[in-house]
């Protein structure tokens, strides 16, 4: 089992980042590796269990299933069902945490998978650079293009019943 964990800090609050990445079918609009994407069987893209079928820029087609989605934690988990790429038992998890000191976001993206030994380096690069890092960079660029946010700081104190 191979595990990759990568993280970055973005200069906008979690709510703004979540608005970009929450939609399980929305990666065609923000992730540079994805050309087109559809949710199968007319499901809604925030129905846990839905499947996205999508095509990469090189034409490869993949299917991924949404395993968990939380607006409370700003997190989601998904697995790969079908792919022409030699990645097996692939599960990925994305989560956002507020950086209260500066009104930013800590974004962690991790993936675990099995891969044939001779393909390990190539798959580490594919997942680490072309999927995760490219995703971080694309959202960073989009936030900068959107300009300063109007979202108020994540308040340090939350009252609970």
């Amino acid at each position: 089992m191979t595990r990759i964990v990568q993280s970055t800090v973005l200069p906008a609050p979690p709510e703004d980042v979540w608005n970009i990445i929450r939609d399980f079918n929305g990666h065609e609009t923000w992730h540079p590796a994805v050309a087109t994407s559809q949710i199968e069987r007319g499901y809604l893209s925030d129905m846990v269990g839905c499947v996205r079928r999508f095509q990469l820029q090189d034409g490869a087609e993949l299917r991924e299933q949404l395993l968990a989605l939380s607006d409370a934690d700003h997190s989601f988990t998904y697995c790969l069902l079908e792919t022409p790429i030699p990645l097996f038992n692939y599960i990925a998890h994305v989560r956002l945490l507020p950086v209260t000191d500066g009104n930013g976001t800590f974004w962690e993206w991790q993936a675990q998978f099995d891969v044939p030994e001779e393909q390990l380096d190539r798959m580490m690069t594919l997942v680490g650079d072309q999927i995760i890092q490219a995703g971080f960079q694309a959202v960073h660029t989009q936030l900068e293009a959107d300009g300063p946010t109007n979202t108020p700081p994540h308040y340090a104190a939350q009252m609970q019943e």
Binding site: S7, D101, F106, A157, M159
Partner: protein, 146 residues
């Protein structure tokens, strides 16, 4: 009333470097400007889960806290207040670190949950979030040159 305070920051050092500085449950006074004169009660080791630290704030007030959990795997420390000048009960706090792989930095989060009278909540929240948590992070940022 149950309340929660959450403060987080980014420290310009690796997770290992920051953890080295904050791991010692008896070492708060070494890195936090608001604390002094810490000792572990009953001569126990500072990384023995269950041990109690007894330290003073710069104001001279005494706080006693019990170590509930310490993880070198997660880089986190959880503790409860046994005695303090603050009007809180059932106080439990966690300080933890996560690596920011892009740029060799460290994401630090410090949160507390406690019971508190509604009239005291504003003052307690302000004291914890600014004088304790953010003040500690500011000291770490200064130490590591941020």
């Amino acid at each position: 009333m149950m309340a929660r305070v959450f403060v987080s920051s980014v420290i310009p050092a690796t997770t290992d470097q920051v953890w080295d500085r904050i791991r010692d449950f008896n070492g708060l006074a070494n890195w936090h400007p608001g604390m002094r004169e810490s000792r572990i009660e009953d001569g126990r080791p500072a990384d023995q889960v269950g041990c109690v630290r007894n330290f003073k704030l710069q104001s001279g007030e005494t706080i006693r806290e019990r170590l509930l959990g310490l993880s070198d795997f997660d880089n986190s420390c959880t503790y409860a207040i046994l005695e303090s000048p603050m009007p809180v009960t059932s106080y439990r706090a966690t300080l933890s670190l996560l690596p920011v792989t892009l740029g060799n930095r460290c994401f630090a989060q410090w949160s507390a949950e406690f019971e508190c009278a509604p009239n005291d909540l504003g003052a307690v929240t302000k004291r914890l979030s600014l004088d304790v948590f953010q003040s500690g992070f500011d000291a770490l940022k200064r130490h590591f040159g941020g």
